[in-house]
């Protein structure tokens, strides 16, 4: 369907556009045409004159495999410098690495001022996170939710959106998973709080709970996306506000509807035993089953791969990144940015929601009010440090998980340093990542950085 502007004769393939982007005139009714669904360039930009004034490619929808947006009309696309992928990877990792090292150095000075030995403290911090089996088990377990929220923030960010609402999305998702878990599966005898609808077997119930978590997160994330697409209200404000709504709403449901009567702790009744997710200790020799590292960790790795494939190997991912890089250009190229915004927020919410799988099915086996150790917000830091790339997110999540676990040991087994040192290290890492330009300058002189990457 092609719409046409009666004033300037531009045509639009996007059905959601009803006004001309150039002069604001109401577009005329769709007319039937065999022409390719493209935005026809105005006469001033017609291909004959494109050598003077290059325009963006009008046929973005037909672009597979995805390529960067190139000027059309040039005889040959300008050749991008090809580099060894290993060198590229090294460059990508270098900045975050410098930021982390710098943070540890500054943190070391603070520890010194407090009156403890930085070396001993860091030995404790890192050592406790890598001891086998508890250290590694718990570090990977801690990393699981951070991978999910980091991916969530990264996907939204690739579409030019800042999802501050991963925290609310993961709470809603965890509750949804728990609700399905105790409403659709057989309960332990003696639990008479809930009368389940069905007694589903594990093979059905576990996937159902996972879908519930993802769907609930996607819906909760999709709401600010929809609001932005329809009314242009800013997603940062809406996601923050939805966090509060989620927490208050779920506290209410927990307290007044799904709590075991008389339980002083804010938690729902346990989920059905058939909804439990297997601990990895069952498969890995030497890893005790008590360590809550569970199948959700493998799911997190799978999510990293899927996000990579989606963003860099599919048309939809390309459209999403194009929207993030330059919304106007993307729209001009035939991408519906409204659809992209809603889609990106829903995917982001769904990823954040997968935290619920780890927490409810794999660990607590119930919804526990306030279970999240700020996973949604740490996810922003994880995405930032991981440069919004699944591999980076995975590594950054591991780092933050090390800090999370080591922080407790530092608190317990040093004289003066408290676990707040971890918050401080996280903060300094973020400051240094954000202040990347400070390092970019001096390093450029070593010839390491010739071009800025998007």
């Amino acid at each position: 369907m092609i719409k046409k502007c009666p004033v300037c004769e531009r045509t639009y393939s996007d059905e959601s556009i009803s006004f001309c982007l150039a002069d604001g005139a109401l577009l005329s009714a769709p007319e039937k045409t065999d022409a390719a669904p493209t935005a026809v360039l105005p006469s001033s930009l017609r291909p004959t004159e494109q050598s003077k004034q290059p325009a963006l490619t009008p046929t973005m929808t037909s672009l597979t495999p995805p390529e960067p947006v190139l000027p059309v009309g040039a005889d040959k696309p300008p050749r991008l410098p090809r580099t060894n992928p290993l060198v590229n990877l090294g460059r990508e990792i270098l900045f975050p690495l410098i930021a982390v090292i710098a943070a540890f150095i500054v943190g070391g000075v603070v520890i010194l001022i407090i009156g403890d030995s930085p070396i001993q403290t860091y030995k404790l911090l890192i050592g406790s996170a890598f001891s086998w089996p508890d250290g590694i088990g718990y570090t990977l377990f801690n990393a699981t939710p951070l991978i999910f929220t980091g991916l969530a923030v990264a996907v939204a960010f690739r579409c030019g959106l800042l999802n501050i609402g991963a925290e609310g999305q993961l709470y809603v998702a965890a509750f949804a998973a728990a609700w399905v878990g105790f409403k659709f599966g057989a309960q332990d005898p003696g639990n008479n709080v809930i009368t389940p609808f069905f007694h589903l077997p594990a093979i059905v119930l576990v996937p159902l709970c996972c879908i519930a978590a993802i769907a609930a997160g996607a819906i909760w994330g999709g709401i600010p996306g929809l609001l932005k697409a329809k009314f242009g209200s800013h997603e940062v404000i809406n996601t923050i506000m939805l966090n509060f709504i989620a927490v208050a709403l779920l506290s209410y449901f927990t307290q007044y509807h799904y709590k075991v009567p008389g339980d002083p702790i804010m938690q729902t009744t346990p989920i059905s035993p058939s909804a439990d997710l297997t601990h990895l200790g069952k498969f890995i020799p030497g890893l005790p089953a008590r360590i809550p590292l569970n199948l959700a960790f493998l799911l997190a790795i799978l999510a990293c791969v899927l996000v990579y494939v989606f963003l860099w190997k599919t048309k939809w991912g390309y459209e999403m990144r194009a929207t993030g890089a330059n919304p106007s250009a993307a729209e001009y190229g035939g991408v519906s940015i409204r659809k992209q915004i809603i889609l990106a927020m829903a995917i982001s919410g769904g990823l954040a929601g997968m935290v619920g799988i780890n927490e409810v099915l794999g660990y607590r086996h119930r919804y526990y009010d306030g279970f999240s150790a700020n996973y949604g917000f740490v996810g922003i830091a994880v995405a930032l440090l991981g440069r919004n790339h699944p591999v980076g997110v995975f590594l950054a999540a591991i780092l933050f998980a090390i800090l999370l676990r080591g922080g407790i040991f530092v608190d317990a087994f040093t004289m003066h340093v408290s676990k707040d040192i971890v918050d401080m290290l996280q903060g300094i890492v973020i400051v240094f990542v954000a202040a990347e330009a400070m390092f970019r300058g001096p390093l450029k002189q070593f010839g390491l950085f010739k071009k800025a990457k998007i």
Binding site: I105, V106, L112, S117, A373, F409, D411, F439
Partner: protein, 365 residues
């Protein structure tokens, strides 16, 4: 200029490395020959001047023979133990902290507060050879009946102490109306409320008790603003003595009675009764007395049991008979409580210990 930043960082790095040369004794590896004790506090942290502070007093006393200030003796001999503590600050850090001690093979891990119950249940199951102790909580085996053998459940007969301060409140009240402010609306706090009401009615049958709770979530322990609001509302309804069992939120009631002021003779018109620790000195002149729970004694005793290899799992109940609960009369409040009142409370105490008075425990009913 940007090189300078780099140079500064390198300088910092060398400073940190150099610090190794003058390694201070701040970090010490635990001496494995000593008994090692780990304590995990509640959300409030060890400086809450109430419940957690009392537990901290107890372990510090066991470690050094001193109170946490390091100057005042606690009146008991040090037990030659190593004490490490964690203030989790949020509910999700409690379990890793408890497990950190267990992983390192500590001899005794103490959990402060009922909220740690389900966590200790799981951790104690995973580490059957380590001793655990929980304050205000009870841990059972999986069958839900037998007390767990490696966990000491330190519980207090708060209703007995509350009965005595209820009597004092009932005899002090001029308006025949007294107030009770609970923190979170749970069975444990109903126990305070029940004893208080029973004691007040025993001393003064005409007394009317107004009860309010701050909330139904954890946040109810840490909301002094709402505590003050409730206290002012109770004062508005005529209550002139208010007993708080609300952690930090109770401190709001202290403000409220201070705001109500003093009469022409310089005596406060409204009073508050403190809880858990001795809070008489928080607002001198306005605090009628404090219902103390000797968490410090309970903690010290359990550490002593472990040191002497006499640790026993199951319930350790602390009541009036073992001085586990009580009320405080000291320099700050002896002018506020009449000698007859104290006499009556002491008589009642003897009768409770002797069994002539049965105080209702609303938690188990």
């Amino acid at each position: 200029m940007k090189f300078k930043v780099l140079i500064a960082l390198i300088a910092l790095a060398s400073l940190v490395l150099a610090s190794q040369a003058c390694n201070r004794a701040a970090y010490s590896a635990d001496d494995p020959s000593k008994i090692r004790v780990g304590i995990v506090f509640d959300i409030g942290g060890k400086d809450d001047r109430s419940f957690n502070a009392a537990a901290w007093n107890g372990v510090k006393c066991a470690e050094t023979g001193m109170l946490p200030d390091g100057k005042t003796s606690c009146g008991k001999p040090p037990l030659n133990v190593i004490v490490r503590d964690v203030e989790p600050g949020n509910p999700v850090s409690i379990e890793p902290a408890m497990r950190a001690f267990a992983e390192r093979g500590y001899d005794l891990v103490i959990g402060v507060g009922f909220a740690q119950g389900p966590i200790m249940q799981a951790v104690a199951k995973d580490y059957p050879n380590i001793h655990f102790a929980i304050i205000d909580g009870v841990i059972f085996e999986d069958d839900g009946k037998t007390p767990k053998s490696n966990v000491a459940s330190l519980v207090f007969k708060e209703h007995e102490g509350s009965y005595l301060v209820g009597m004092i409140a009932g005899m002090t009240s001029k308006t025949n109306t007294i107030g009770f402010i609970g923190g979170m609306d749970i069975g444990l706090i109903h126990r305070f409320e029940g004893g208080y009401e029973q004691g007040a009615k025993a001393a003064n049958p005409k007394i009317q008790v107004i009860q309010n709770y701050v909330g139904v979530t954890d946040a109810a322990w840490n909301n002094p603003g709402k505590g003050k609001e409730i206290a002012l509302a109770q004062i508005g309804k005529g209550a002139d003595v208010i007993f708080t069992a609300a952690g930090n939120s109770g401190l709001g009631a202290f403000d409220a009675v201070e705001q109500a002021g003093k009469d022409s003779s310089g005596r406060a018109t409204h009073f508050v009764i403190g809880v858990d620790s001795n809070q008489n000195m928080v607002k001198p002149g306005f605090v009628l007395t404090s219902m103390v729970k000797r968490v410090d004694n309970a903690v010290y005793d359990i550490v002593k049991d472990v040191v002497n290899h006499k640790f026993q799992g199951g319930f350790h109940v602390f009541g009036l008979d073992t001085e586990g609960v009580g009320y405080v009369v000291d320099n700050y409040n002896q002018a506020l409580v009449s000698p007859q009142t104290i006499q009556a409370a002491e008589d009642a105490k003897k009768k409770i210990v002797g069994g002539q008075i049965k105080v209702v425990d609303r938690m188990t009913q």
